[in-house]
């Protein structure tokens, strides 16, 4: 809650309009953006992130086409906000430095450059472009459960050397326990000169407690989405994070009551299904598979008549990383073929 004269203990970045986009298959319209930005802005949220779920340029066969060009929606967000900064996420290899130039023109002031947690050196070009454009550059290490605290320090140090102002780790699969988060954040806070942030997912029902633990270890930035709308089992719900922070006496600078209104009255009515931790969502966290694979895996399971759980477990075995949605079709086709073969050769089948 806002206490006059006291600056917040951490900065809240709301990603309803970026990570939340996965859960509605990238079907945001201008009126949704205006309402959500106005609500979050009124609640005092410091940064609002908006883009296709897979970042700038993510609209594609592989990740799903946006209903409305993201640049139009970003322009609406920039026009609507009064105090919140507008951020965009981009993943090198999917989006381009040119996309950063375009959104800077629209009024975006924060660039989150996201990369798999072992590949930081592909971001140098983009972090430098963001800095040259006068933006805050946040280095964002995805699937952080797949790298050790020491490995993450190495990668984060590279991001810092390119000019990143803040370094995030993202639990993209919602696979981390509180201890996993503590060890990673602690190592990063000790090793880096720049502030650290954590982006949590809720597959193991740990998103809020992991975010609070990250704060206790020294993280100065936390992510949420309204009503937890997001990839896989969903994100850390912004309104719950704000409410729990209040209970802990952590100053957030945001009004949890307004955030509850935004979640209940604006975001929930948009949701095709409420954000629950069902079997598939839990399996993603359990197997450590990228959350945004969920809806794609469900569609492939239906199309090729194979169990969604088998697809998710096989993707985990293959150690796929964020962005490899094409492998879902690959796995589904292979499972369908194995299934057909086992029916042909299964001796039990003949006696039935």
């Amino acid at each position: 809650m806002t206490v006059p004269g006291v600056s917040p203990d951490y900065r809240l970045i709301d990603s309803t309009l970026r990570d939340g986009s996965h859960a509605i298959s990238h079907q945001y319209y201008a009126e949704d953006v205006i309402k959500i930005v106005a609500g979050l802005d009124a609640a005092g949220v410091q940064v609002i992130e908006i883009a296709h779920g897979d970042g700038l340029g993510g609209s594609s066969f592989n990740y799903g086409f946006s209903a409305i060009d993201e640049k139009e929606l970003i322009a609406k967000a920039c026009q609507t906000t009064t105090q919140a900064e507008i951020a965009c996420l981009m993943i090198p290899g999917i989006g381009l430095a040119d996309d950063l130039r375009e959104v800077r023109e629209l009024g975006v002031s924060v660039a989150r450059i996201a990369v798999h947690c072992t590949e930081a050196d592909i971001t140098e070009q983009h972090i430098k472009v963001a800095k040259d454009l006068g933006m805050e550059a946040i280095g964002f290490l995805m699937m952080a459960h797949m790298n050790s605290p020491e490995g993450l320090v190495e990668q984060a140090t590279l991001l810092q050397s390119y000019g990143a102002d803040t370094i995030y780790i993202a639990d993209s699969a919602g696979a981390m326990t509180t201890d996993d988060v503590r060890r990673r954040v602690n190592a990063l806070v000790k090793a880096l000169d720049v502030p650290v942030g954590v982006h949590a997912h809720n597959n193991l029902a740990m998103a809020v407690s992991n975010s609070i633990a990250a704060y206790e270890e020294g993280a100065k930035n936390l992510d949420g989405t309204s009503a937890g709308l997001g990839a896989g089992a969903g994100n850390c719900p912004t309104e719950i994070l704000a409410a729990v922070s209040d209970k802990y006496g952590i100053s957030t600078g945001v009004n949890p009551l307004i955030l509850m209104d935004v979640a209940e009255e604006i975001v929930r009515p948009l949701m095709p299904r409420q954000q629950v931790i069902d079997r598939a969502g839990l399996l993603l966290g359990y197997a450590g598979v990228y959350g945004s694979f969920l809806l794609h895996a469900q569609r492939a399971a239906e199309r090729y008549a194979v169990p969604v759980a088998d697809i998710i477990l096989e993707l985990g075995r293959r150690q796929v990383v964020g962005g490899q949605e094409d492998m879902i079709i690959d796995v589904a086709l292979e499972l369908a073929r194995q299934h057909a073969q086992s029916e042909l050769t299964d001796p039990d089948m003949e006696t039935r």
Binding site: S60, F61, F65, R318, D326, D330, L333
Partner: protein
Amino acid sequence: MGLRCVIVGSGNIGTDLMIKMLRSESLDLLALVGIDPASDGLARARSLGVEVSHEGPDWILDNAKKIDMVFDATSAYVHMRYFKKYAETGITAIDLTPAARGPKVIAAVNLSEHLDAPNINLVTCGGQATTPMVHAVRRAASAVPYAEMVSTVASKSAGPGTRQNIDEFTKTTSTALREIGGADTSKAIIILNPADPPIMMRNTVFAGLPKGTDHDAVLESIWAMEREVAAYVPGYRLKNPPVIEEGPYPTPGGVVPHRVVILLEVEGAGDYLPAYAGNLDIMTAAAMRVGEAVAEYRGVKS
């Protein structure tokens, strides 16, 4: 006698290309040229009895009279500095960097179009792997309103050049899908995967199919193209049969009722690089195919 060739760049690609070229009947390898006398590539060349120089591209210009063709496996930066000088001294350049100075050639699609060009650019590894498939769809359909490729390579096989210029990879590849593949609009995506043991290079092509497309003809054309590419890249294969999925899909090239999904794998030949590095192997294999086609065009008897 074959065309007199040198390879410049003694890194992974140059060294792998050397081993392939030693088997060629129409391309005679004069030397492997690098800049580091202690490099593994030059040591390998010496052990195979190939002449070496560590004086870089200047050695090539000094010996221009003896050289018909240079295969450039350095970097876009070095190629841009030297491509004019190669042309002025009458040396044909096959460019394996993303410098894109000369016309783009995808060996399975437009091999015969630029055989007299002083400089031929080989696009990118992902471009060599996926442009043929977009072309295969295009030749069986009235149009390809939108095509997309997703390339996933093992982290270990992506060198510093790719990592520092990842936008160049996606832009150049995307352009090839339109200009050579025949798509109206396009997108290219590259993903690096650090899994251990390293994964084989994977490429997926999605192409939008207009209403009225003969789906069987599209699938048949794809199977035929697999054979056409595998003729010079033996490890190139369809990992699963191509599938046609029902939409509709609102692509940047307009709404299409169906899309075809083509899942490819490229296993390297293991000449110098490990088998997982199919991304590097497809470049050296394409360079050999183009080089030998130029030799044939110039009447070299093999």
